[in-house]
Amino acid sequence: MNRPLAAPERRLCQRLVDEVSRALLGKEAEVRLALCCLLAGGHLLLEDLPGVGKTTLARALARVLGLRFRRVQFTSDLLPADILGVSVFERESESFRFHPGPIFTQVLLADEINRSPPKTQSALLEAMGERQVTVDGQTRPLPEPFFVIATQNPLHQAGTFPLPESQLDRFTLCLSLGPPPPEAELKLLLEGRERPVEALVEPQLDAARVVALQCRVRAVQVSEAVADYLVRLAAFTRRAHPGGGLSPRASQAILHCAKAHALLQGRDYLLPDDVQAVFPAAARHRLAAGGADGAALVAEALAAVDVLAP
């Protein structure tokens, strides 16, 4: 069960990061976190201004993992059926036939998710949580693996609907890409890339191997010391946050992501460093609800909680 990581596996982990980084220049840390999220079986929320590469990242991730990819542009008039699918009466067979929506894919990019009204947003809920879709009283499983990568614009932009907290909690990580570093931007301009992401990134895995890698993530060894550290971090946010801090599901998600982070580093055991690496991305959006300053609270927690046992 707990065999140490072999060299090819370690190389593969690094190659995943490298490939995606070719499509998204100068953002290796974010790429790594995004990969962590997916390998941990979580859903990713990308929150940033338009044009910094959110969609590019999502496409590159899908490509490198060798998964089917669909994209839905969320607009204010998008309906749940537009995502999930619809049953249509067919004359020939004299019965209703289900036309699956774009959600029946392996990687779903929900672009600008906060532009559509809450009803449509909540259509994603069941799919993200249960990995299944219920239409007309019939439940249909989604393909395996299934990831949702949603992007959203900052809330102060006009015409946005903030995501409800329950929905936010279902996103394992929330990343802000930010503008690229100047040298990366320079390179981008000079090279004048016109090629699509699919031409830049070579697939490294396929669905079956992704599932296998997810199994490896679950097998990463967690010592009591690290788990204890995470518990103390969560407890700190609960004391400091007016809305109750991190939920147990959040702690679980953080632990899972941290394990993926350890695996991507080529380790089969967890360090507090892994927890610290994924903690801001995992905690900030959850703590931001209720108008609190999530980033500040995260920084405070990381500084105030002793990594070693007190």
């Binding site: 010592s223 055991y269 360090l271 610290q276 105030a304 070693l308 046992a309």
Partner: protein, 680 residues
């Protein structure tokens, strides 16, 4: 199945057992001492081959052999030596059935018992230190047992040292505060190295004891008496049966003993004293029998001690082992000058009907020729002075007519010969006389001022009763060898002859100035040890007496023990939550690592992981980068990967991180520089 003994623990146990039994080699038969090391070695050898302890037959056989050897060695069972030998043998044989940690724990306990037996044989400060070392090794074995295979090689010893040091305050409190009660059972004391017996048999002991062991020490309040006056009276021997001189028992009645604080009527009658009283304190070492020693004209001050009419000191109960008493003495002008009662006179003149005819004839002739007893005495002494020689190895004397043989044939001997022969001659000439045995002389410490009397200072002299003058001390040895009194035995004959039995005594090297100083320093240490540590019972007794009056110490023992128990329980209650919340060993080692780096100003902040801190530290201290990386690696393995085996490696790695050379300190402590500037 019981837990097997971890290999390191077996090693520590073997070492502890060997060290614990080694000093007994001086006091007990060698085979008994060797059982433990041999059995421990056997056990280790089995261990190396991966086999458990021997079967059932081997221990049984070995036990039988030991019992047989005991029976052969000691005809008498009820004595200290056979019992101690039995203990040592049993302790060693336990190694043959050392299978589980339980057995090992029992062995450790037995080891403490063995160590506790050693003071019955020897009690010097060196023994105290040695016992501390034994305790250290035993506790280390226990620690190794608890650690299992884990921990570094030196970890058990360090742990034991820490435990012992933290136990020291409690031990001190116990030593000072716990009331000393007498032993609840009596321990037979080991056979005394003969310095002074209860009787004097002419010619039976061919050689005088030549032990340099301390018999007792005396501290004078004021100047000590001159060497020629230092006659320490032990026993007065008045009964002569033709072969041996013995004490006449007068009992301890009121008419016989003047106890401390009393002054019976006979006291003033018997003694005419002059000069101011001078106080002295005697520290009696164990092993010298049960006699007390005092100067003539002494009055005892310590309760329970007294002076007999014979001017010898007694104590009730008679002291076993170390004893301390105070007395005061004045110069004696006359001793029983008023006349001897008839009974006493008959006793002091009594001679057997027959034996030593030539001496009797000579005495009768000389007494008749001399006009007075004094002249008669002078004549005998003159004879000694002219024709006799002092030697520590006199020719043997026949059991019959020994005085004749000594006076007319061999004419060589030491104090006993001269004293016994003179007393015989005096009695034969009608002058009451007796033999006194005790010590003469002693060595004055050059700076501390106390007197050390050793076994080889044992002496015998004669007392003659002369009408009008009372008892007069006559020391025929002083006539034959005057230097014996002024220089002492060692000065008279030299160390080579005197200390033939003790080849390693420092006294042999007295001519070297450094050695002489060392010898005195050791003697001072020994004196302080005896006075404050071993003889503490007396000090404590006085203190308790002052605090609680006449309450016997036994009554104080129970409250003291109860208080101790309460304190221990309190400490346990306070320490238990702390112990429960104690950090993981890897964390403790990492803390130590952090403390080391803090010395050069590198401090981990709370949110900093071990790895991040190590990277930062390695960047700051490139010369230690490898060592710091090792700490990080082993800490992660031990703490986060569950590799307990990495603890030892972590320990080694932490020890190797030694920042703070002068160069580093200068570079990394700008804060100090700034503070200096601020002060300027």
């Amino acid at each position: 199945m019981a837990e097997a003994v971890p290999r390191p623990a077996a090693f520590w146990l073997a070492a502890a057992a060997t060290v614990a039994v080694a000093p007994f080699a001086r006091h007990l038969p060698l085979w008994a001492v060797l059982v433990a090391p041999l059995a421990a070695g056997f056990h280790l050898a089995l261990f190396r081959r991966g086999r458990a302890a021997g079967g059932r037959w081997l221990p049984a056989l070995a036990l039988g052999a030991c019992l047989a050897a005991l029976a052969l060695e000691f005809p008498r069972w009820r004595a200290l030596e056979p019992m101690a030998s039995l203990l040592l043998a049993a302790f060693g044989l336990k190694f043959l059935e050392l299978r589980s940690t339980r057995d090992a724990a029992a062995l450790v306990l037995l080891g403490f018992f063995v160590a506790a037996v050693l003071p019955l044989f020897a009690q010097g400060p060196a023994v105290g230190l040695y016992l501390l070392a034994v305790a250290l090794l035993l506790v280390a074995s226990l620690a190794a047992l608890q650690l299992g295979g884990g921990g570094g090689r030196g970890v058990p010893l360090r742990l034991a040292a820490r435990l012992l040091v933290s136990a020291l305050p409690l031990a001190l409190v116990l030593f000072v505060a716990l009331p000393r009660v007498g032993a609840f059972w009596s321990v037979p004391s080991p056979a005394a190295v003969t310095g002074m017996g209860d009787e004097l048999v002419l010619g039976e002991v061919a050689e005088l004891s030549r032990s340099a062991q301390v018999a007792f020490r005396v501290r004078f309040e004021g100047p000590p008496p001159p060497p020629a006056e230092r006659y320490w009276r032990g026993l007065v021997l008045s009964r002569f049966d033709g072969r041996s001189w013995r004490e006449v028992s007068w009992g301890h009645g009121e008419g016989v003993v003047a106890w401390a604080g009393q002054e019976p009527s006979w006291w003033r009658r018997d003694l005419v004293l002059a000069g101011p009283p001078r106080v002295y304190e005697v520290f009696l070492e164990p092993g010298g029998g049960r006699h007390l020693y005092a100067l003539l004209g002494s009055r005892m001050l310590t309760p329970g001690t007294g002076m007999t009419r014979l001017q010898t000191a007694v104590a009730l109960p008679s002291p076993a082992g170390r004893f301390r008493y105070r007395a005061e003495y004045r110069s004696v002008v006359a001793f029983e000058a008023g006349g001897l009662p008839d009974v006493r006179r008959r006793i002091e003149l009594a001679l057997p009907a027959q034996g030593n005819p030539r001496s009797r004839a000579l005495a009768a002739r000389w007494r008749a020729e001399a006009g007075s007893p004094e002249a008669f005495l002078e004549r005998i002494l003159e004879h000694f002075r002219r024709h006799f020689a002092y030697t520590l190895r006199p020719p043997p004397l026949p059991p019959e007519d020994a005085v004749d043989a000594f006076l007319f044939e061999t004419r060589r001997g030491f104090c006993e010969h001269f004293a016994a022969a003179l007393a015989f001659m005096l009695r034969a000439g009608g002058v009451p006389a007796r033999v006194v045995i005790g010590f003469q002389g002693g060595e004055l410490h050059p700076t501390e001022g106390y007197l050390t009397v050793r076994r080889y200072d044992a002496h015998a002299w004669t007392e003659a009763w002369l009408a009008g003058r009372g008892w007069v001390r006559v020391d025929p040895t002083a006539v034959v060898a005057p230097d014996r009194l002024t220089l002492g035995l060692l000065g008279l004959l030299g160390a080579e002859q005197v200390l033939a039995e003790e080849p390693v005594a420092l006294e042999r090297l007295r001519h070297l100035p450094g050695i002489e100083r060392l010898r005195w320093a050791l003697d001072t240490l020994d004196y302080a040890w005896g006075r404050w540590v071993l003889g503490y019972r007396g000090v404590q007794g006085e203190l308790l007496g002052r605090l609680f009056g006449a309450l016997p110490p036994r009554w104080l023992l129970l409250p003291a023990l109860a208080a101790l128990l309460f304190a221990l329980l309190l400490a346990a209650a306070l320490a238990l939550p702390l112990a429960r919340a104690r950090a993981h060993p890897a964390d403790r080692l990492f803390e130590r690592f952090c403390r080391r780096l803090a010395r050069v100003g590198l401090r981990r902040v709370k949110g900093e992981t071990a790895r991040a801190f190590c990277r930062r530290a390695a960047a700051q201290l490139p010369e230690l980068a490898a060592a710091i990386a090792a700490v990080d690696r082993h800490y992660e393995a031990a703490r986060y990967r569950g590799a307990e085996a990495s603890l030892a490696a972590l320990h080694r790695a932490v020890v190797r991180v030694r920042p703070g050379g002068p160069f580093l300190q200068k570079r990394l402590r700008p804060a100090n520089l700034e503070r200096k500037k601020g002060l300027d």
